[in-house]
Amino acid sequence: MSNDFGDFINEFILDAEERLARLEETLLASEARGERLDPDRLQLVKRELHTLKGNAGMMGLDALQHLAHAMEDAVAASADGSVDIDALLRQLDTYRRAVRELKPRHQQATADRQVVGSVRVPFAVLDPLLDDVAEMVILRNRVAATLDEGRRAVGAHGTWSDAQMAYGLLCRVLDRVQDGVMRLRLTPLHTMFGSLRRIVHDEAARSGKRAELHTSGGDTPLDKALLDLATDALGHLIRNAVIHGLETPEARTRAGKPAAGTITVSAAVRGDDVWIDVEDDGAGIDVAAIRDAGNRMGFGFDPANPHALLFESGVSTRREADMSAGRGVGLSAVREAVRRQAGEIEVQSTAGAGTTFRLRLPMTVAILRALLVRADGESYALPLTSVVESRRFRPEDGHAIDRAGVIRWRERLVPILDLGLQFGTTACPREDGHVVIVEFGGKARALTVDRIIGVEEVAARRLDPIVGRPGGIAGSTVLGNGRPILILDPHGLVTLRPLSEAA
């Protein structure tokens, strides 16, 4: 397969996926209003199917061409717009699966593109750029500190003023660049609304409910990484809303409600955050069932916060689990995933009137892979890019030189930085502890820690200026258990002078 053909295939795949999404959305929107396509929609469906068929033919993909042709026939046979939407949706799924199989494994990444205006930007290009910008921001802080020191040493000399003015301008440009790069990753939420419609449709059919999905705020922007998270989380909440939230059509009619339930997804920007509400007009959360489930599982029930237990692992208001819901792992997993990205999920419910889940996510996020370590009762995140080695601390590796400790590592003597002593009050144990070699810009430090927790992706959050500019600390993040921890700054660490117990 030549490269040119590879490019064509990629273009074909992207184009087909967009058309499939459009078709699906159109079909589901019509279904919500009764089983008929209005003339405009019918025309759009015919046009899209025809283009799919033509493009598949051009690529020599006979099977796809025939499938598109079959769908076209099914729609063409209906002059009044009454089509079997379920059957068409199933055929679209088959088509989509076949299209996805066209992607050679090594080309999956290049096909992962996003539409920004009229330019397609592969994330494979965008992400390294974002990392570089993040590094520039860290370097900027370093330059600021050096300039301050220099001015103190030299005084308000003309050259310093020039340097500081240039630095000020550089900062402003860098801020704009950072903002611009973050913006490139923003994707409007409506790109995932189609998949939610599908979930409502499928789950309602499976559970004998009737449900309509209303969406608003589709132009709300969200970072691509968070969009994936939001897609999973909202999928889960919507599934829950249909299965647990909405009553059967008979029960709804008895309660004086319309037979079809309404699920509303509304998104809005609030400051730096995006709020997405998932609201249903169902029966509300059964607080007594939560209390009973909590008692069975041995969790305490707090009447002031009756819904808190919903997010605990293993608590389900359902007696029996089925394929879709009821295992009591879903919401706790959702909350953990959301918290990992510095977000939160909350719930409000009124008996008989419905339930609202609110998802709060930061609009943009800087995600980094970090080694989590523990020292003196606190956890810290070390950016993985600067970690070259971690292992048990062998006392025979350590040497004392002029009261400071060093460790022999790859024929070098590396100063020991005791994380417990440096950032806490208690030295890390030398007998049972671990050591992490951190290297940055040719300098290295051997960090001694109590324990190594593991590698995690963490969402970096800036620290408020009120905390000053503590050496060796880059920012903060929130762990899945809700605890905020500090992200260490490799730059700062390798320039810190180790504190020793003897000092």
């Binding site: 730096d272 606190e378 620290l463 905390v467 504190l499």
Partner: protein, 170 residues
């Protein structure tokens, strides 16, 4: 003069009753733990997680010159908004939301106030209850003298290891 009613949140620090305007407080939260930030100003107790946002929290006792507080089940953080920023104020216990008549508030007694205490708005005396009214926005920054002995520790006075902090970057 006709009464000017204003709503205040009262709280205790070291058995004394204080209040800030309800308008400066966005919410009051319970705290189980506060992650300390090493080498931060002494008055900064650490950071808390407020629905995914990392909020720095000022130990209000230290901020106004008292000994650091100890976390107890009654401890509360008053979350204050300053533009886009959220900053927490750690207090020993939150009491009530009360309505006070502004015209009955006496200015702070000038001869007992030190120059730096510009956060005291006045005192209110009612039913033998003495309430010191504070200006929240003034408390959301940390003056220089509280940077000097920075150690960022939650417990006890500064320890010897950290008093040499100033030389670390030299």
């Amino acid at each position: 003069m006709s009464a000017q009613w204003e709503t205040w949140v009262t709280f205790t620090l070291d058995a004394e009753l204080f209040a800030v305007s309800v308008e400066s407080v966005t919410e009051i939260v319970r705290v189980k733990n506060i992650t300390r930030v090493p080498h931060a100003p002494r008055a900064v107790r650490g950071i808390i997680n407020l629905r995914g946002r990392v909020v720095p929290t000022v130990d209000l006792r230290v901020r106004i010159g008292l000994a650091p507080s100890e976390l107890s089940p009654r401890s509360r953080v008053l979350v204050c908004r300053d533009g886009e920023r959220l900053i927490g104020l750690l207090v020993d216990a939150a009491h009530h939301v009360v309505r006070l008549d502004r015209t009955t508030v006496a200015p702070p007694p000038a001869d007992v106030m030190s120059g730096g205490a510009d956060y005291v708005l006045g005192v209110h005396l009612e039913d033998n209850q003495f309430v010191i009214l504070l200006e929240a926005t003034q408390l959301l920054s940390v003056p220089d003298e509280l940077h000097a002995l920075s150690n960022g520790h939650s417990d006890g006075p500064s320890d010897p290891h950290h008093s040499q902090q100033g030389t670390v970057h030299a």
